[in-house]
């Protein structure tokens, strides 16, 4: 665009036509980030390790945990988060944990990833982090209220971790009326589980002389279900399903 035309458009207070091609510009996905095993070994003291032995109740599949390449963070007992309905899904460099709570409509979701997209310079200049004491470690956390709850985002050991609280039934609303509940969870994210692959990396990076990270033992082996609807007769009906299935 000629400079004079740009100037004229600006003087007139108008905008500039967006060229459709420009919308294909896409942020770059970075290779899986390096894990800061040194820091992990420093904070992974016997106290934390002892706590994380409690994670043996992790109802996750061995293969999913073992294939996860980054440290898995869990809320400790101080948070009061129930693990009774825990569901764990791993894609290797990213994992998701779904923790439905005994209160109807209250769900806690956890995630971790080592795959990031490169930001534009200054993209997060408006971000206001809160300092959270996470098992004695000061960690910068970004809390955001969402349409149906709260999210918390923070980084540890070079990885990105997320907590999400969803309140979508009347009984659960108190847990999302402010950030108290998610802040409590954030400060209790002190249990660390390493799957087999992560443990190998951890041992190699730290010389194997640090506290032995425990692994979940009584895990459950279950199959991956490709598409749950194919296994459910009602779902193959193209008309609106019977309202009796309403949660």
């Amino acid at each position: 665009m000629p400079l004079a035309a740009v100037a004229l458009a600006v003087i007139l207070g108008g905008g500039i036509v967006v060229s459709p091609q420009a919308q294909d510009a896409s942020p770059r996905t970075l290779p899986p980030a390096a894990i800061d095993w040194k820091t992990l070994s420093r904070v992974y003291n016997p106290g934390v390790a002892a706590k994380s032995r409690a994670t043996r109740g992790l109802r996750a599949r061995n293969d999913q945990v073992d294939n996860t390449t980054l440290p898995i963070l869990l809320p400790d007992a101080s948070t009061g988060v129930s693990r009774d309905g825990l569901a764990f899904t791993s894609l290797g460099d990213v994992y998701d944990i779904n923790l439905p709570q005994p209160v109807k409509g209250l769900t806690v979701l956890l995630s971790g990833t080592r795959v990031f997209v490169a930001s534009q310079p200054g993209m997060f200049r408006g971000v206001k982090f809160d300092q959270v004491n996470m098992g004695g470690q000061p960690v910068e956390v970004l809390f955001s209220e969402t349409e149906d709850g709260w999210t918390a985002s923070f980084s540890r050991f070079g990885m990105a971790y997320g907590i999400e609280v969803i309140c979508d039934e009347a009984d659960a609303m108190n847990y999302c009326k402010d950030s108290t509940y998610i802040r409590k969870i954030a400060s209790g994210m002190t249990e660390i589980v390493l799957g087999a692959q992560a443990e190998r990396e951890f041992t190699a990076a730290t010389g194997g002389n640090t506290t032995q990270p425990p692994r979940p033992t009584d895990t459950v082996k279950v199959p991956v279900n490709r598409d749950v609807l194919t296994q459910r007769q009602t779902a193959n009906n193209p008309v609106k399903p019977n309202s009796s299935v309403k949660p």
Partner: protein, 355 residues
């Protein structure tokens, strides 16, 4: 904006300038009514014809500097859209409904959208079957931030309808007063192009990418009609089902960068079927029907206009003192929606997999 102005061409520039001048005239005509900023849209808007996008939108800003608001292209099906980050005037300001007799200003940076216009999911499937209309649910007819021209005709009229509309719903006439005041979400003008970005529209929730660090965290999209539980939402990418709520479905894409997609206001009867079987992981293919778009909120009750609130979340990292600092954030879905919709209209969209 700087990265997008490279290929406009001289003819386009002249066309833009003419349009801008026309807009200026339009502003002067309508703005003169109250000597103040006019309501952002809807004055007499109707579906009678496929009006030119800009004039059909009554695109009039309260200041001399009209925002960039020229549609960039006309695609198959007459699809047009306004540029990313060009939000409806008032929808991002810290004022409330743009009452013509209130001393409010549209110069307020308020919730102004961020300057990030990247395509954050360049290959995704468009998440709704059929035609769709991406636009504000709050600041258009039927929304809390909208007032009909009739309601704004006089302050006495507005107050009368307001008081009635927000009285006890059991009182007779409240609904008629509400409709007079806010219009209806089924207004044909809500089901017309051009599309308009509403990421960062005024909301109480935090959004790191908005000017004020608060704002709408996704894009609202109306399906082809205002009927709920008729139009299908489909998976944007090959994904695992991450969570099923009472009106929400959350997917995690299985390929890097492992985007999270959220679908809100879904018909609970459908999404309930995605509740994972104990101890299993449920996967869906891109284009898979997920359920039908509705107006649902907490507890699966009617809650909002019939639309899909569509979110993309990602882990984005910036360099801080030589090391990467990652952050999970909402990213603007608008450009990804535009390009996926264009592919669909051109016959290159994703194959829809049946329910």
């Amino acid at each position: 904006m700087s990265r997008n102005n490279g290929s406009g061409g001289g003819g386009a520039v002249i066309a833009v300038i003419i349009l801008i001048l026309a807009l200026g005239l339009l502003y002067q005509c309508q703005g003169a009514k109250y000597g103040l900023p006019v309501i952002p849209m809807g004055a007499g808007a109707s579906s009678s014809s496929a009006a030119p996008p800009v004039s059909g939108e009554s695109e009039v800003s309260g200041t001399a500097s009209v925002d960039a608001s020229v549609e960039s292209s006309v695609a198959p099906g007459g699809f047009t859209y306004l540029p990313a980050t060009d939000l409806l005037p008032w929808s991002w300001s810290s004022s409330t409904v743009p009452l013509p007799w209130a001393a409010t200003s549209n110069n307020d940076p308020g919730y102004k959208a961020n300057v990030n216009v990247d395509n954050w999911s360049p290959a995704m499937c468009f998440p709704i079957e059929g035609k769709a209309y991406a636009n504000s649910q709050v600041y258009r007819p039927g929304g809390e931030g909208f007032a009909t021209p009739e309601a704004l005709a006089s302050k006495a009229q507005y107050d009368a309808w307001y008081n009635k509309a927000y009285s006890n719903p059991k009182q007779s006439g409240w609904l008629a007063a509400y409709n007079n005041l806010r219009g209806t979400s089924c207004d044909p003008s809500n089901y017309q192009y051009p599309w308009r970005d509403n990421f960062c529209e005024k909301r109480s929730g935090e959004n790191a990418l908005c000017h004020s660090a608060k704002g709408h965290q996704g894009q609202d999209i109306r399906p082809e009609t205002c009927q709920k539980s008729v139009h299908w939402a489909v998976a944007a990418e090959d994904s695992v089902v991450k969570d099923v709520g009472s009106y929400t479905l959350t997917l995690r894409a299985v390929n890097p960068p492992y985007r999270i997609y959220r679908y809100l206001h879904m018909d609970p009867d459908f999404i309930a079927h995605w509740q994972p079987l104990e101890g299993t992981t449920t996967m869906v293919k891109a284009g898979r029907r997920l359920g039908q778009v509705g107006d649902f909120g907490p507890g699966g009750t009617s809650y909002t206009t019939v639309h899909l609130h569509f979110e993309i979340r990602l882990s984005v990292a910036e360099q801080v003192n030589g090391t990467l600092r990652p952050l999970n954030t909402f990213v603007p879905p608008y450009n990804a929606l535009v390009t996926s919709y264009e592919r669909k209209l051109a016959g290159n969209g994703c194959a829809v997999l049946p329910w």
